[in-house]
């Protein structure tokens, strides 16, 4: 497995280089986001954008496993929670630097993701949903029952912040953006690598993929672990930014529903779509506070309507705009038929 994956990663890096040459404008746009704190001073909006980036890390990495590989995983929120709790507990109880514990948290998530992927290998779609759902419920119940360690539903607070300078949203903005950019670029490189094509093939028809010599087992395990890594990363980032963790918020199916809605609105199998969907939903639910109690009512309706009548989500619209300004065209037509 090691050889294949390191080769794919190497291929991914070279793909990334060619991407920079091929789509300079898209890359420039990503880096233009770094300038936003110069223009937007409001800490409130910057805070929302930080949340948007964290959600975007979650949704784009879910897109890798659900959109591309076709594994409908319900455990993504749980991976996020595991990363968050591991990182904050390590930094709180053992005094380790949060930057390091975020990495440890993500690696823990990766390991658990790998273990959860094992029983999923033999199973088909609906069964995978159930296994991952059961796993995330076990994670939530365990976390809220281990009151001595996690303080359960009382909430874990007193988590050390990522930065010693408090109240400077700009710095957090830049950090979150960097994490998001790193996630997006590495996922993009992965999608465009040999492994990415293999994953898409598995997502479209597992049997055919196997018949042309793709090692389905290995790739599925890799996809699952990689997406769990990024989910853990998002969780760690969230924990050391918001500084409060409650199992019923971060390990819940509610978060999973949000991830799903965001990704579906944006359009699966596009990476950019889920990221845009995340921002959209974060801002909509903040600015339409009047819809507060109706929020999940609307999410539910949105999921139904999108799946039935607009299965590709907003991604078509996004692509059309992107094509117009020359951002997305080559990405679209090479990846898809």
């Amino acid at each position: 497995m090691g050889v294949v994956s390191s080769m794919s990663i190497y291929g991914g890096v070279s793909k990334l280089k060619s991407a920079v040459r091929e789509y300079p404008r898209a890359i420039l746009l990503l880096f233009a986001l770094y300038l936003i704190p110069l223009f937007i001073r409001s800490p409130y909006i910057l805070h929302l954008m930080v949340l948007g980036y964290i959600y975007a890390i979650l949704t784009t990495s879910w897109d890798l496993v659900c959109g591309y590989t076709g594994i409908f995983s319900f455990a993504h929120a749980a991976f996020c929670g595991i990363g968050a709790y591991t990182s904050s507990l390590l930094s709180m109880r053992m005094g380790i630097n949060p930057w390091l514990t975020i990495l440890v948290g993500s690696l823990t998530s990766t390991g658990i993701g790998f273990l959860i992927a094992l029983p999923c290998l033999r199973l088909r779609g609906p069964y995978i949903v159930i296994v991952t759902l059961a796993f995330s419920e076990i994670a939530r119940i365990t976390c809220s029952n281990l009151v001595d360690i996690t303080r359960g539903e009382l909430g874990l607070w007193g988590i050390p912040p990522l930065l010693q300078v408090s109240g400077r949203r700009e710095y957090y903005y830049l950090i979150a953006l960097s994490f998001f950019a790193a996630t997006l670029l590495s996922l993009y490189a992965l999608i465009r690598s040999k492994m990415g094509y293999a994953l898409s093939a598995i997502g479209q028809d597992e049997l055919k993929a196997r018949s042309i010599g793709i090692n389905v087992t290995e790739y599925k395990l890799l996809a699952f672990s990689i997406s769990a890594f990024f989910a853990g990363l998002a969780g760690g980032l969230y924990a050391h930014y918001v500084l409060l963790l409650v199992p019923s918020a971060i390990l819940s199916l509610g978060l999973m529903v949000e991830i799903m809605t965001m990704s579906l609105i944006g359009g699966l199998k596009s990476l950019v779509g889920p990221a845009i969907g995340s921002f959209l939903l974060v801002f909509i639910s903040e600015y339409l506070r009047a819809i507060g109690p109706y929020r999940f009512l609307i999410y539910g309706l949105l999921i139904m309507v999108i799946v039935i009548w607009a299965p590709s989500g907003m991604v078509l619209a996004v692509r059309k705009v992107g094509d117009l300004i020359g951002l997305t065209k080559p990405i679209v037509w090479k990846g898809q038929k």
Binding site: L123, V131, I141, V257, L297, I303, I308
Partner: protein, 291 residues
């Protein structure tokens, strides 16, 4: 030494939850067997059953038995409507099972929050249908719980009879095996899909209606029975009606044993562990035919 009347009562309580799991799992299994999809909105039909009872019995003072009957009808009609509007447009799409599943997730969130917004989050108490206790070998057991067990077993028996002894049941089983071949025999698979979905929803609503005096009525009341029902349906073998019933009873009893061993807060973990173990070691379940 634990007094034995305590053990007997706990076992009986296990049987009561077992009936609930059996009803939920039977419906889920039936839907999966015939339509090859998972109904994530199943818990919400349990909730609908509870709310129909709340409105009829508590608000309007209707006779409980009549209310249970109305809950069944309401769930049946809602089920038919939902199948027609939200599921039928998806038939024949490439990833039918996953899109149907996603739609029912949306539906579940919608219905749950509909109840939350319009009917409030307060737990609603329902008076017992039959007050008093019955004494079995000197151990008092509430009649309400006896009613749950007897009622569930009756409904399960009736449904088993319908599935195995009538032409309609034969049609359902035929569609479950092969919708195309069934339609060649003059069966309309779409009609069967719709009726199967409606009947399964009815089972869930029946569980909700019967158990609401014990567990109360609130917007998320369906979440736990739904998840447990799923575990049971897999444990018994997805698509197998008998497996679901047997698995439900077994889980009810296993939970009682688990609570005695590990404490009540770990109760829900038992079902999920059972589920994952089943999928790892025998994915086709107790009585499933396999894939």
């Amino acid at each position: 030494m634990v007094p034995w009347d305590y053990i007997v009562r706990q076992l009986f309580y296990g049987l009561v939850s077992g009936c609930m799991y059996a009803l939920m799992a039977a419906g889920l299994s039936l839907i999966f067997g015939v339509m090859k999809m998972l109904n994530f909105a199943h818990g919400e039909f349990y909730m609908i059953g509870g709310y129909v009872i709340y409105f009829l019995v508590v608000k309007f003072g209707v006779d409980p038995m009549l209310s249970i009957f109305s809950a069944l009808i309401a769930a049946f009609l809602t089920g038919m409507l939902i199948e027609r509007v939200f599921l039928r447009p998806l038939f024949g799409r490439p990833a039918w099972d996953l899109s149907a599943l996603t739609v029912t997730i949306g539906l579940s969130i919608f219905l749950q929050n509909f109840a939350l917004v319009f009917w409030g989050e307060k737990y609603k108490r329902i008076p017992e249908y039959i007050a008093g206790t019955v004494s079995i070998y000197g151990i008092p057991i509430s009649l309400q719980r006896v009613l749950v067990v007897v009622g569930s077993l009756c409904l399960i028996a009736v449904l088993w009879g319908v599935l195995h002894r009538t032409m309609f049941g034969k049609a359902i089983r035929a569609v479950a095996q092969d919708p195309d071949a069934a339609s060649l025999m003059g069966i309309n698979p779409r009609k069967i899909f719709m009726l199967t979905y409606a009947i399964s929803c009815m089972l869930a609503a029946f569980a909700g209606a019967l158990l609401s005096p014990i567990f109360m009525v609130y917007p998320t009341m369906g979440a736990s029975p739904f998840l447990k029902g799923f575990c049971v349906a897999i444990f018994g073998g997805l698509g197998s009606f008998e497996g679901a019933v047997l698995g439900g009873m077994l889980l009810g009893l296993a939970e009682v044993a688990g609570i005695a061993l590990f404490g009540a807060e770990w109760r829900d973990v038992i079902a999920f562990t059972l589920l994952i173990l089943t999928l790892v070691f025998k994915p086709s379940g107790l009585l499933g035919r396999g894939e």
